[in-house]
Symmetry: C2
Subunit: 248 residues, 2 copies
DNA sequence: CGCTTGATTGATTTGAGTCAATCCCAGTGG
DNA sequence: CCACTGGGATTGACTCAAATCAATCAAGCG
């Protein structure tokens, strides 16, 4: 079911650079000077595109470095012995994944493409070496790690304390804001993942996802057609998550 | 209800050093040379002891650095507007917390003592500067961050995919292995946290925690007396979590 | 045009929550 | 030293949100 994939050397590829990448200010190079960005750029691997459902890595694989999604989408997940997947995160263009390998230089979870996907690899050894002379890069990496950790914490709050409909509303708002961040519509978008994956992320059953989408539609909050989502009433959606947001 | 606390200057304290600390090889200095450890040691703050139920930091507080528990215990948590706490982690002696401040130089969650507690602060600015010349420290920090992230991921799997009794069994095994790591009994220990906190960590109701402890006792798996836990049948406890462990 | 796979819908069950009433210490003060 | 008290812990009765089981339904594909 999972397809195979290989990296091809940088020299064989069209020239793509961080500098020219429209996602660079969402991605790791954010905040670096032009000179720094070029230096970082020299070390980045850019594998070719991959199909839907390709496994990028799995537990036990050697940790190469950080992965940055260029197009498409990726899910990272753990599985129980019985097969159920707990999705840890969905990673959209401009977002970074693969940090689970930092502990022991081995990946600890699975990473699989949701769609036709391309990504960059930022080799860890190189990043580490560059950190010696680039305080801004150190800062940027810490920011990134902190961000991932805080995302996981919000996810814990969701799984531990929210009802099924709060979870789905939170999820829709998260996807929406991430589309918006990339300059797309916040109210009309295609979900890159299946109902099964949404259920796995939210810790609920697929059937519940279906029923809740239906119930949201009946309340004129959204219009759903397979993967196409149109948010009709952002206000109501925000209300639904009002009591379950964290305080500060 | 929460009590106040202040730091006192290093000079006013008894000399405590990483070098002489029995926890140093569980803690951040692990793997550093003696010379490196001394250099790190010079920058560590060691506030005095705190009572139970002291707030160490809360969302919005300036991020100072990493915190290492020396004695006692700490919980970190997020709260919903309605007041429910999602406990993100319990931190026992030798363990580090406070990484939630890395994203924006502001803490994002609450940290509160569970008990009479002392801890060290490893100021972030200093750590960052030392990283320029100490590759081993960089490595150690990345290892630590990766470890925290992987703990969060296991916690996500627990909240998303495990039943209440699997969650409690996983919890007991985790506490047990952490006591063992510090050289204490793996089968007989005092829980440092309340039932309420256990429930908040596991995403279940307090009453459910009580009922499950009772049911575990009736199956002769454990003996529970208030906070005193004696694991009578480690095998059965492991069996209970067998299907819900992650694959690799 | 069947076939496969994912999504939806309905009927039923159940694990865990909620509500409410004790219970049991630990700490306080007479 | 012992009665009192308040907060955490336990227990029981009842409820309900979401899971499970079981049919369809719909879409994409060879």
């Amino acid at each position: 079911m999972q397809k195979n994939m290989n990296h091809i050397p940088l020299s064989k590829q069209l020239k793509i650079s961080c500098e020219s990448c429209s996602l660079s200010d969402l991605c790791l190079p954010r905040g670096l000077s032009l000179k720094e960005m070029e230096e970082l750029d020299d070390h980045i691997e850019r594998p070719r595109n991959f199909d839907q459902n390709c496994q990028i890595y799995q537990p036990g694989d050697k940790f190469i470095g950080f992965y940055a999604v260029r197009s498409g989408g990726v899910k990272t997940y753990l599985t129980k012995k019985t097969g159920e997947q707990q999705i840890l995160g969905f990673h959209l263009p401009g977002e970074v994944f693969g940090l689970d390998g930092l502990e022991n230089s081995k990946q600890r979870c699975y990473a699989t493409t949701l769609d036709n996907t391309s990504y960059c690899i930022l080799p860890y050894e190189k990043l580490d070496a560059l950190c010696e002379t680039m305080p801004e890069l150190r800062h940027q990496i810490c920011h990134l790690l902190g961000h991932e950790m805080n995302c996981d914490h919000s996810h814990l709050l969701l799984l531990g304390q929210q009802t099924a409909h709060e979870r789905l509303a939170t999820f829709l708002l998260s996807i929406s804001s991430r589309f918006k961040r990339r300059g797309f519509s916040a109210t009309s978008f295609m979900l890159p993942m299946s109902r099964h994956d949404i259920a796995g992320y939210l810790g609920i059953a697929v059937e519940t996802v279906s029923r809740l989408f239906k119930s949201f539609q009946e309340k004129d909050i959204v219009k759903i057609n397979r993967k196409q989502v149109d948010i009709l009433d952002m206000g109501k959606l925000n209300e639904m998550v009002a009591n379950c947001e964290e305080t500060d």
